[in-house]
Symmetry: C2
Subunit: 298 residues, 2 copies
């Protein structure tokens, strides 16, 4: 399969659903809507929503009902980037080649645009294509919302983010770096895969396999990100590189070195692909996404 084409097609599917789902602009609070839109359509790769779609379809899911969850995952990811970029945390002026949210709309509106996206994500998950809802779905939907909240919150992304910040400039050990990565990035990657699988109807064995895939992929993804921060080309990435080293961030390259990190990242991708061995061609997108993770240059 042509992974670039697949990614492009799914990205367009996600983008058009996001446009549909983003609340319509109200006159008085128009800056808030513009700020949300600015960051939501700033050229993200849509990795999380695409993973949820690929996993949904690998599990036999059909139709469009995954899209509200897919969009919610991207809204949560985007809110986390807006807050990360604020002067209170990373103080970044550019992301994906564009000025960050607070550089355009000011800190107050950016902060609230993040809050708005997070809240909207939860609203969206309660309404996955209501017309397609089948009886008995509601208990599953509640479980999925809970799983996303767990992955996004203090036991997941937010927790990892705090440890990441508090580790800056300190000598940290591998377990701490692992904690940061499995929480800060891994949890939401895993949740994307699992939510797709569960909404697609995956039974226990398949869900276990996809969970193993998501765990390996999540860690591999973050290591690849860390390597790109050392070796990537700023022009391709649309943001400064070398910033982790400058800030003395706790990363795999800083603890294990770049070469060892590359080996680890490749091993994890192989583990992710191996977890899918019971699946046929319906899991090809998941396999190719895993390969793309370590091959990408942005």
């Amino acid at each position: 399969m042509d992974i670039q084409r697949y990614l492009q097609e799914q990205k367009e599917r996600v983008d058009s659903a996001l446009e549909r789902y983003l609340p319509k602009k109200e006159e008085l609070a128009s800056n808030l809507y513009s700020a949300m839109q600015h960051s939501l359509f700033a050229g993200g790769k849509r990795i999380r929503p695409i993973l949820s779609i690929a996993s949904f379809e690998a599990a036999g899911g059909k139709g469009e009902r995954i899209l509200s969850f897919a969009c919610a995952l991207e809204m949560i990811h985007t809110y986390s980037l807006i807050h990360d970029d604020l002067p209170a945390i990373d103080n970044d002026d550019y992301r994906r080649g564009k000025p960050t949210c607070h550089k355009v709309f000011g800190e107050a509106v950016a902060l609230l645009a993040g809050d708005g996206l997070l809240t909207e994500a939860f609203r969206l998950m309660t309404h996955p294509h209501a017309t397609e809802r089948s009886p008995g779905d509601e208990a599953l939907l509640l479980d999925l919302i809970s799983e996303v909240a767990q992955a996004a919150g203090v036991s997941g992304m937010v927790g990892g983010q705090v440890v990441d910040i508090e580790s800056e400039g300190k000598a940290v050990d591998l377990p701490t770096v692992q904690y940061i990565h499995t929480h800060k990035t891994g949890a939401m990657i895993l949740a994307s895969v699992r939510v797709g699988a569960r909404l697609g109807g995956a039974k226990e064995t398949l869900l276990k396999a996809l969970t193993r895939y998501g765990e390996s992929l999540g860690l591999s993804f973050q290591i690849a990100d860390d390597i790109l921060n050392v070796e990537g080309k700023a022009a391709l990435m649309g943001k400064q590189t070398g910033t982790d080293l400058f800030k003395r961030k706790a990363t795999y390259p800083s603890v294990l070195g770049v070469e060892e990190s590359k080996i680890r990242s490749k091993e994890l991708v192989e583990m992710a692909i191996d977890a899918l061995k019971q699946l046929g061609p319906e899991a090809d997108p998941l396999r190719e996404i895993a390969r793309f993770i370590i091959a990408r240059e942005y």
Copy 2:
């Protein structure tokens, strides 16, 4: 009934549920947990959760299943205060007589503690005392989560907050002040009342009455807050007063004057109480809470 005693008893009920529901401290991210705890137990009056309980019980609801929603409403309120107090928005050093979250834990951790509380609130709402869940409940729970998200998000609290900030220092008209108040404070007050009523089993006529109560109360509450900012005693309130005037905030007193605002606030409380006229003594707590709103000094 003795409203002070009622408020105290319900506050203790909410406080002990909050302690039970707040996620347990993890070693690596311990500052995050301390920050959430600091703000969640900083002496709030628990108006929103108590309203949800009073409304739940007025509608005939029994038992403890309202408590997870009650706590979620308070977590959302607390997150909004943490973010409001940040230098990016109000830059407040004290609240309820204690240093604000970012003064104690730094801006990054405070920002993330807010994000964590908001996310945790949604997780909590998916699990209202699972053992007490009756079949068919799930569709209602999804609806209630959606209603809270709507009230907390861009069409509610977050939207009102943005308009509030953008109106500072400008000459604004009454419709704008009304927009700010119905969105920033009113929406979550109304949601508290409605969520309690719906979870308590209120049918259409009762829900309509309680909705009218919640709408009037929400607006009255914010006007009373604005008046306290002008006339309140800083020592009782635990924070500076007169700040709205200093910041040229869009408030009722600034647009209508203090006396006219007091009249308006009283009228709204009477409207709120009038909305309950079909109800018996089971709605006394709601009536007394409404009277308390304009009589309080903090």
